[in-house]
């Protein structure tokens, strides 16, 4: 399998008047062609910053300090805006967090998708582009006649489908789906996720799912990365993560989110609040909330290492954890 996207020690910081916010710190992972991974974490943990770094759509005060982003074998970190514009949507498309507001209210939905196509494929005529959009509509389960409607005439689910259709418009190699279903009710959520998974399989695209809901991600992603305070703390196959979470935070996550159709478990909440990324400490960032923290944890940052095949964890005490899982179970 060929890697399509590789992040190597990506550091993305925001400069604020209060100081530096380390939104993504030493983030590394590899995504292969046709593979889908999930990026999970609480809100504010830096998952969206990672996705925005990949798109290079950072706000004016955000910048990539160091690290590399290889897309299709090329390091895009130093790409100019013009060069990036060629990669955006044609190479990497995105499904945004707030589908409600992701469509421009003053243009017809169909036209907004056509616009994406004609921007990247200038040789496609308007009619051809419309035909493609119509096909995409069918693909995501929308009536092609709704193409000429305005966003405010769509329901929330329809908008989400339209956005999925839009993300597929240029046949991208990678789609980043940032909380694709958060705003929808549970039933629609599920349908849309299934739809998305189907399309991804069909078109053999790579996917990055971003969500705070590990249960949702686990259904569609083959691998899961768990982020905490700007760092990936654990990454492995979804099955492994579910079965044998190694990082205390991952365990906490498992316990605090019910699966859509999982068996009922007593919920364990993680005490404390996520740390302020502003002037982040040098020690393990989870230490203040960790029931297993030792002096070591308060002194330095644990390294991100492979504890078993394809199972990476950044923790000093991954060993202790299995017991707790058993105890809880």
């Amino acid at each position: 399998m060929k890697p399509i996207l590789e992040l190597r020690n990506l550091k993305m910081y925001y400069d604020t008047q209060a100081g530096q916010v380390k939104a993504a710190d030493d983030v590394s992972f590899v995504l292969n062609e046709g593979e889908s991974i999930g990026l999970v974490g609480e809100s504010g943990c830096g998952k969206t910053s990672v996705s925005m770094s990949i798109m290079k759509l950072l706000p004016e005060n955000g910048r990539i300090i160091s690290g590399n982003i290889f897309f299709d074998g090329k390091d895009i970190v130093n790409f100019s805006d013009e060069e990036m514009n060629k990669i955006r949507w044609a190479g990497i498309a995105m499904i945004f967090q707030a589908a409600m507001n992701s469509l421009n209210p003053v243009y017809r939905v169909g036209d907004q998708i056509v616009e994406a196509i004609t921007a990247h494929e200038p040789n496609v005529t308007f009619e051809e582009a419309r035909q493609r959009v119509a096909n995409l509509y069918k693909l995501v389960g929308l009536d092609p006649e709704r193409m000429d409607n305005y966003p405010h005439e769509y329901s929330g689910g329809m908008k989400q489908r339209a956005i999925i259709a839009m993300s597929l418009a240029c046949n991208p190699k990678l789609i980043i789906a940032d909380e694709p279903t958060t705003a929808l009710d549970v039933i629609v959520q599920d349908t849309i996720l299934r739809e998305l998974e189907k399309v991804q399989k069909k078109l053999n695209m790579s996917m990055i799912y971003i969500s705070h809901d590990i249960a949702v991600i686990a259904e569609v992603a083959s691998r899961i990365a768990i982020m905490y305070a700007g760092k990936i703390v654990e990454m492995s196959d979804s099955v492994v993560i579910f079965k044998r979470p190694a990082h205390p935070y991952a365990i906490g996550l498992m316990s605090s989110f019910p699966s859509i159709r999982g068996e009922k478990k007593e919920l364990v909440t993680i005490p404390g609040e996520p740390p302020n990324l502003l002037n982040a400490p040098d020690h393990c960032r989870f230490a203040p909330r960790c029931p297993f923290a030792t002096d070591e944890c308060w002194k330095q940052t644990p390294s991100y290492s492979e504890i078993e095949s394809n199972h990476f964890v950044a923790c000093f005490h991954p060993q202790n954890l299995k017991k707790l899982v058993n105890m809880n179970a």
Partner: protein
Amino acid sequence: MADNTNMTVKSVEVKLESPFSIKVRLLWRAFKENWNIFSKSKIGMIGLYIVIIFAVAGFIVYPILADTVWKTTSLNAMVSYNPVTGYDFLQNNPAPPSWAHLLGTDPLGRDVLAQLLYSTPREFMLGIVAALITVVIGTLIGTVAAYFGGAIDTFFMRLADIVLLFPFIPFLIVISGMMQVDLLTLALIIGLLSGFGGITIVLRSQGLIIKSRPFIESAKVSGASDAYIIVNHIIPNVMPLSFLYMMFNVTGAIFSEAVLSFFGLLNIKMSWGLMIYTADTAGYIIGSNIWNYWWLWLPSGASITLLCGAFYFIGRGLDEVVNPRLRKR
């Protein structure tokens, strides 16, 4: 806005324990928070400094100078200098700046600097009285209309439509040209005209937003009276916006007064606008060279511009407090 909301929610909760002092402390904290945002706005701070300089000059420096430096040039050496009647006929008037008259004298031999400073408190008075009337009316009507809706709402909104119809400056010109308008009357007219006009509409829509917030519902459920809710919950939350409009209204009032005085339409004895009017009708402004008698029009014209601009600057600074989306980061 979010900060304020939290603040009020808390104040509802803690009110039961100790009512007044905590409220004051919370208000103080809200003020400090807003001040922090405001003080970061360069434009707002420049405006504030200018206003302070004018206030000091008008309220403190003027009375001192009038009783000392200029007293000798007074018509009646026993009372302090009055720049309305303080003719200095010992020289050719208008005289250019000299040690006796730092900004020269006007065509009638009156000290320009004294006129400038003498008028300053009056401009403040006018601006602030007009703005206060506007804001009090606008806030009351806006919140009441928003809270009760129905016939009251419709009535005041239609009234605002009509008031908005009035061409403001032409209307003031007609009124002041046809009846005797002094500074206080003018403040009243300006205050009423703008109070029933645009500001009500803005504050009403703000009020509607506040009204839909959950804490209003909870206050209602806990049996608070309508008046109590309006006074304690809605008004404090639209206050920052009112304050913002107040600043813009001060600008408007001072500018209107200057224009009306410039046409000699007001029944007042001295103002910045009147100073330019005097110089203009006597023929000292335009001729072979506008700079020949610069001291007759530049100081007063610049003062009008600066003070109007300063309040506008403060308004812009406040805008960033009130409207977080305008904030830089």
